[in-house]
Symmetry: C2
Subunit: 142 residues, 2 copies
Amino acid sequence: MSTHAIHSDALAQKLADSGLRNTPQREFVYDALLTKRDHPTADEVYARVKTQLPGISLATVYNCLETLVQCDLVRAVNFERAPTRYCPNLHPHAHFHDETTGATHDIELPASLLAEIKAVLPPGYNADVIELTFRGKLPATR
Amino acid sequence: MSTHAIHSDALAQKLADSGLRNTPQREFVYDALLTKRDHPTADEVYARVKTQLPGISLATVYNCLETLVQCDLVRAVNFERAPTRYCPNLHPHAHFHDETTGATHDIELPASLLAEIKAVLPPGYNADVIELTFRGKLPATR
DNA sequence: ATCCTTCTTTAGAATTATTCCAATTTCAAC
DNA sequence: GTTGAAATTGGAATAATTCTAAAGAAGGAT
Ligand SMILES: [Mn+2]
Ligand SMILES: [Mn+2]
Ligand SMILES: [Zn+2]
Ligand SMILES: [Zn+2]
């Protein structure tokens, strides 16, 4: 089993479900997200994958990331107008953006809180997506 | 009292607090947001203010909007990577983005829910800003 | 195996919201 | 009235992302 194929089972499955082909580019991009789950930007994914697939293009990284998002394997995460970041955590979760380091931390969301959040919507409002974002400074000593 | 001065009291106060000058451009931009509270983009604010101040520049609209945000008179609201929208509602509230019409609706947030949301953060995580966004399709009949 | 079609990747150009810049204008203080 | 900071302006620059057109890979049918 090749290194980049470690996580290819779920990927191959979801791609097949969507009628899409599996490719080395898609596997390496997905693997980059799973190997270092630090919410990298497309540029950062590009830099990481290039060490293993030197011929890959930035356009392909964007294409692959969009494919992974559409297959529900990855979430796109936006803070203000900063470059989009990518997250392979499929559990319901919020994001804490540390303004000191720029790091993004996952905050797991209990189903009970999610239910209470949905309950603030007036009748007729039906949310397909809920995004919860925190911004603040974490103490330097961690 | 001139039309654009209707809302100038809070503005003049906050500008003074921040050591900034009051200007017609700032007053008209703020007034555009208060008069039609539909979360316009900078371009839309520009179009609205130009009817009253034909000489205003888009750069100035951006400058004024940023000033208003820094004075805590206006919130900048982002959905995905769409152009930033501006909201003069100072109460704690979430946003519902209607994917059918593109409209943005304010969802008032009870303090109790805000407290529960903050409570999901691990010790040491202190959030200066909390953003809650819903996305979905509203029934056409409203 | 070859043909055919479709999907994917690629390099580079285009797009576009926003920011930056240098020159003018405004304005408050002295 | 002079002066200096602050604000505005038009246009250039920036930068993340998307688009385009051409080349490459892959799968199914024959
Ligand atoms: Mn990037
Ligand atoms: Mn706009
Ligand atoms: Zn995440
Ligand atoms: Zn709002």
